[in-house]
Symmetry: C2
Subunit: 410 residues, 2 copies
């Protein structure tokens, strides 16, 4: 008998019909003899509806109150699901974030889990019941409601799976797994059967919005195997697990694109120590994530510093950077918005050399100019002009034969 | 400096505009220098919307799950209200039923309050904050969410007022007070300036749906003055308080009608001891409230027993009564559904005699036949044919000069 944590996202429980469909799925798993804990998100659209009301009331809602507001959506889905199962004679019981004992720090709207007691969930399991748990929410030490940020229900599921030492955490969503590329852009993208935490992390942070980044980090830390699959169709999904020998057979697991990028260049910076620290210190203090950084020596004593950030944070970044630029007597601040990032990800890169140069050549053959480059052990990223993003994704998908099943590749 | 508990019902907070209007009202009271605790219901229609979803899922939803579901509505209004006030620079803070420490018994969907800790509310008040409290909800000893039944937010407000020894509990609603009769039926009905708990209880149980019965009982027990007033218009409301000398100047305070009535007659019952006990015991065990009971000796050894019940409970009552009737060899069970109850209420009846006979004569003059009569110290009720209800209300309102200000009457 295995213990599974099953998490269902907002579209999976978006209507009474969908709740019945998910109840069917839960019933089937239970009848296979497995122990089950179910984690649910709010109905799709509900969080946005509540957020809209809050914004109608004030432009910057108080975060403690916002957390209480947003946490109401999951209470609706867990109670409806528990009712549905109980009406079918299945012993199910709802538990809120507080009742599960998900204790977080005090960072409202983006709280971090500090511990998971799970006493009532364990008691319910011993009692033969299926606990139906509200995702996305916890309480802080004051017993006020906190929320875990966008996609926080994934984190609830993984944290519970870790606390319960579950055999697997299954994330049901509206896609049937993680693909070698976005199927909307690359028609012959292929579902991956297995993927390492590191690869998933790179893909998640690159905008493959299947799993929340923090939940993958948590799963990696606690070695919780995650399976991503569809609640709408039958069949296998993608298993995200620790790296193993088979994975290294493959050089590249997937290719990802991200057009939510902007590039800022501070032109003519006096080349003296401490300047970069001042510049990026003020940007980091504002909570803005700087991605790539390049420094070019353009003249003997002057340098240009370029960096990329999420495009939405451009106005705030410019405010800060212009102040620093004027303080350090930089010549100018330039902006380029129509850029995108294309990345190759794969643990196999550790053992396969030449991936980066093969990527640059493939892009070059298509006349795609590379503006910036950054690499890590299992990733190569290039910033290119945004208009070439789809072409770049298809080119690289083809170049690295990602449409072919990974196990047949060397 | 007085301490007020202000409660706002669902129509009072039914939209973002209404929330702003109520925030104005709270702000004004606070600026007058009073301490304030605010209790809110869910937005009007929200509880029905959630209930509809539950019924779509199953005909008899599990009550523990239903309570969690229904309790989500108040969390939305309290967080939105606290946000609104905070955006105006007012120090407000939301508290759920649990955070307030409203502990109830385990009767889901109709829980009774066993204690009100109110520690966090007291701390917030000392801190100069306005606590915004979720009505209708508490937790049981297991820390599961319970709800207090229809109109339960009134009870939350009164119980909090008692726990905090507040100077007054103000119930804001969509009418501006308690009237001498239903203004929709009796156009010259007049708003009462003051009313005793006992009178309010009789009127509440008679269907003047201004205040929940249990909250009036609670207020009477703890001597909490309640003021009922409108959140939509300015001006005085009705003060419900303990009986005082002035009240006795008035013989009749109000007249109420209730058409939600049905009469059941068990015909030809053997007149032996224990029969009535058996009959009403089985009805009471099913939680059905029997109102009036009449027993007529029709033959030497046989009797007829008639009683009235809420019309909605007729099918269930008939099931039970037919079983008992057959067990005790009664001749028949007869039903009359087109009846209504009209009642006069007033603490002055204790000192004024002849009210009942004057009532019977007034009804008789209009050709209204009286089917059953019941009296208490401060109430006379008559069951009549339903079609005469409006006429009876207008007749009695006129007969007892209820349109004239009570303080000028003897």
């Amino acid at each position: 008998m295995s213990l599974y944590v099953q998490k269902f996202g907002g579209t999976s429980v978006g209507s009474v019909e969908r709740i019945h469909a998910v109840a069917d799925l839960i019933e089937r798993t239970a009848k296979e003899g497995h122990q089950l804990v179910v984690v649910l998100s709010a109905m799709s659209g509900e969080t946005d509806r509540l957020m809209r009301m809050a914004r109608e009331i004030c432009s910057i809602p108080d975060e403690r109150e916002l957390d209480l507001l947003l946490s109401s959506g999951e209470r609706v889905t867990i109670s409806l699901m528990a009712m549905t199962l109980r009406a079918r004679g299945i012993h199910a019981r709802s538990f809120t974030g507080r009742q599960v004992g998900i204790v977080t720090n005090n960072s409202h709207t983006k709280a971090r889990i500090s511990r998971v007691a799970a006493d009532r969930v364990k008691a319910a399991l011993s009692d033969g019941a299926i606990p139906i748990v509200a995702g996305f929410q916890g309480i802080n030490e004051l017993s006020d409601v906190t929320t875990l940020g966008r996609g926080g229900s994934d984190l609830t599921a993984v944290a519970l799976a870790a606390a319960l030492k579950a055999d697997r955490c299954v994330i049901y969503t509206d896609v049937d797994g993680v693909y070698t590329a976005d199927p909307n852009v690359v028609p012959n993208a292929r579902r991956l059967r297995t993927l390492s935490y590191e690869e998933m992390l790179e893909l998640a942070s690159l905008g493959a919005k299947v799993l929340q980044t923090r939940s993958v980090e948590f799963a990696a830390k606690h070695q919780v195997p995650i399976e991503v699959k569809s609640s709408f169709t039958e069949g296998q999904g993608t298993l995200v697990t620790r790296e193993h020998a088979d994975m290294e057979q493959v050089s590249v697991s997937g290719v990802a694109g991200d057009s939510n990028q902007a590039k800022v260049t501070v032109v003519g910076v006096p080349d003296s120590p401490g300047i970069a620290g001042e510049l990026f210190g003020s940007v980091a203090a504002a909570g803005i994530n700087v991605d790539m950084i390049i420094q070019n020596v353009s003249q003997e004593t002057l340098t240009d510093i370029s960096f990329t950030i999420p495009r939405a944070e451009l106005p705030q970044t410019l405010d800060l950077v212009k102040k620093v630029a004027s303080a350090i007597n930089a010549r100018d601040v330039a902006v380029k918005e129509d850029i995108a990032k294309v990345s190759l990800v794969g643990v196999g890169m550790r053992s396969h050399s030449g991936i980066a140069s093969r990527m640059f050549q493939a892009l070059s053959r298509e006349g795609i100019n590379i503006i910036m480059i950054s690499t890590s052990e299992i990733k190569v990223s290039c910033v290119i002009e945004e208009k070439y993003l789809e072409l770049a994704l298809r080119t690289l998908h083809h170049e690295f034969e990602l449409d072919k099943d990974s196990t047949t590749l060397k």
